[in-house]
Amino acid sequence: MSLAWTPSRALAAHLIPAQQIEQREQRRLTTGIHALDELLGGGWLRGALCEIAGPRGSGRTSVLLTSLATVLRHGHCAALVDGDGALDVRAAARSGVPLSRLLWVRCAQGDPAQALAAAKIVLGAGGFTLVAVDLGDRVPQVPAASWIRLKRAAVEQQAILLVAATHRIPGAQGASALGLRSLQPHFDQGKDGTAPAVLCGLKIRVQMERGAHGSTSSEILLSHDLSR
């Protein structure tokens, strides 16, 4: 008796060998936010340049810190190249970042070249799975060659180079890009309205602006709730 099973042609087109699934999972690291993982096809792609773009209050720092926390809690090494020195340590701790394991590089404000040079040094060391570059509120003029070099370094080290800025700066060098936009902050004014109001959340919209396999466009709503 033979146990061999031959799938139909229609089904076979959707089947993926188990080995490939394993390899694909190893190449992606979760962002720590389930909805974002679904949007990105499993998480941030290793050996690639990924982007988070959004104006003030759009939640890009929250996504960045959550990604750092998740990567560090999985035992990987991660570094934050802070272009503005804007990291709030208490907020990072609340996001679950193990502070003692995060390499924090504070760069001179308004000097993106220094931030990119620092990122290149960290990538060159090898062993850092996630190198997050926070370019702050400015829109720096960065030569395309810099991004090409950084992307190459990320590919060589199989690291995730995550760039957060107000606009998409690396452009075509980015493997995936998330566009973020704030919708509405939530304030709680209490039942009787006499107590001072409390900020308790922020609703944001995430849009996939560039995907790993060509451009995909979809929207998702995420909300914060500080009262949790």
Partner: protein, 495 residues
């Protein structure tokens, strides 16, 4: 016990050549002081071929080498000589934990090194190679006693004296090789020569009592050494806390670039010495001798021990650019604090991080780029001030929270450092508009005030009213009013 003796002949001359290796092939003579009347105490082969000999005055040496256009006479440098002696000691420390140092020699016990090297010959070759790396040409002798090893090191480039064969080895050697400086001053060699005793073998054949009667204590010591018996005790010591390299500069240096050139050479030499001992650099101290008088000291801390010279030099450059010497520099001493580069046990269940040595070099490069005060692992401080932050040294160590899920997604906050001054228009319900460097906007919703105060006990107390305001530009800012000055500040925004 087997003892190795590493001998650096003409160490004062070698010290100068170590500083300026390009002089090695030139006709170079070393004088004991400045001026034409100073005595020649060392010379290169080219200078010897030109007729320069020990004990000549500088004037005589120049006359003898009149045909040699390029004879250079330099005064010996105590700083360079001291550095060369320390480098010689470090060669010994590369092979043994404790060594005994003399001016131009270093002794260490061979002991278990025979397990690491196939033969004593191979060990001696290894020592010679290590000495060459730190810029010294040495002779190596291995014998059963200190005195025999000392004499043998003067006889051959590599001398292995078998145990029990000391007398046979020493027998053909001239008496002069076994004489100390005191013996030579006391004419011991001359008196023996008058008797027709020119080799240690001939001395060994004389009756001991007769030698002691005529030559006293020095003669007895020499006779015993000629027999191959030596009772000189071996007093090894542990390495010093810091590696020191120094040099005197021929002319005062005022600018940073030439000074960095001198420092690079010192740093290269110091790091080569440390690498010979398998160590890295944990911190640097620079001591400048200024013209016309005085000293200045600069400390250069490191984020982690490193073995790479390039990033260290960059750190030194930055430190000097921030705070240059206040007067021209005529001498530099570099103190390097040695430390083991941290070894990390790899974890089977954890992704491997950066290799410790590469991490140390990376941290040094980053510190050179952004400054050591801007690099490290962030840490919360025990303070009531929201903006308080501390930086600790970064180490890739396992964390107890690893493999635990992160807490639920939290709203993050971006901080302006320092807080920006702000103008606020207040209404009955709170702030209604804000204007500052970062933004100008109407306020749609304000939550607060939340009062925070503290540190009144330290004399730097603060009292602030905080507001979270939703501005018309879409962001939610956190602002505060200082209760003492009434000034408003923008702390940052929720992001």
């Amino acid at each position: 016990m087997r003892i190795a003796c590493v001998y650096a002949p003409q160490i004062a001359l070698q010290a100068v050549l170590r500083r300026d290796p390009e002089l090695r092939e030139n006709a170079l003579a070393l004088a004991d002081a400045k001026g034409e009347r100073a005595r020649i105490v060392g010379f290169t082969r080219a200078a010897y071929r030109a007729g320069v000999r020990l004990g000549m005055t500088v004037c005589q040496a120049r006359t003898m080498a009149a045909g040699q256009d390029n004879l250079r006479v330099l005064p010996s440098s105590p700083a360079d000589t001291a550095a060369a002696q320390a480098a010689l000691a470090d060669v010994g420390y590369g092979f043994a934990p404790r060594v005994q140092s003399e001016n131009d020699r270093v002794f260490f016990e061979v002991g278990d090194l025979r397990r690491l090297f196939p033969s004593e010959q191979a060990l001696a070759q290894g020592v010679t190679a290590q000495a060459a790396r730190v810029g010294l040409a040495v002779r190596v002798a291995i014998a059963a006693s200190l005195g025999v090893a000392r004499v043998a090191s003067r006889a051959q480039d590599i001398a292995i004296v078998p145990t029990g064969g000391e007398a046979a080895f020493l027998s053909p050697l001239p008496i002069r090789m076994a004489c100390t400086d005191e013996d030579l001053t006391g004419d011991l060699e001359t008196r023996l020569s008058r008797w027709g005793i020119r080799s240690l073998g001939a001395l060994a054949r004389l009756p001991k009592d007769a030698v002691v009667l005529r030559l006293g204590k020095a003669g007895a010591r020499l006779w015993q050494l000629a027999q191959g018996c030596d009772e000189e005790p071996f007093f090894p010591v542990s390495p010093p806390d810091a590696v020191e390299e120094g040099t005197e500069i021929d002319y005062p240096i005022c600018e940073l670039e030439p000074l960095a050139f001198v420092l690079r050479s010192l740093l290269d030499r110091a790091m080569t010495r440390l690498q010979g001992r398998g160590l890295g650099c944990a911190g640097l101290t620079l001591r400048f001798r200024l013209d016309p008088s005085g000293f200045e000291v600069r400390q250069v801390p490191l984020a982690a021990p490193s073995k790479e010279t390039g990033p260290l030099l960059e750190l030194v450059r930055l430190a000097l650019a921030r705070q240059p010497p206040s007067a021209p520099v005529v001498g530099v001493t570099l103190l390097v604090l040695p430390a083991r580069v941290r070894a990390v046990q790899l974890d089977l269940l954890r992704p491997s991080g950066p290799a410790p040595e590469r991490l140390a070099a990376t941290l040094a490069r980053l510190a050179a780029l952004v400054g050591i005060e801007n690099l490290g692992a962030p840490a919360e401080t025990n303070s009531f001030r929201e903006e308080a932050v501390a930086l600790r040294s970064y180490q890739n160590s396992p964390d107890p929270v690893a493999n635990q899920p992160a807490p639920a997604w939290e709203l993050a906050f971006r901080r302006f450092r320092p807080p920006q001054e702000l103008e606020i228009i207040m209404g009955r319900q709170g702030p209604t508009a804000l204007r500052g460097k970062a933004t100008t906007a109407r306020i749609l919703m304000a939550a607060g005030p939340y009062r925070a105060s503290g540190e009144w006990w330290s004399g730097e107390g603060f009292s602030r009213d905080y507001w979270d305001v939703h501005a018309s530009d879409g962001a939610v800012y956190r602002v505060h009013q200082d209760q003492q000055s009434g000034q408003w500040f923008l702390d940052g925004y929720y992001d």
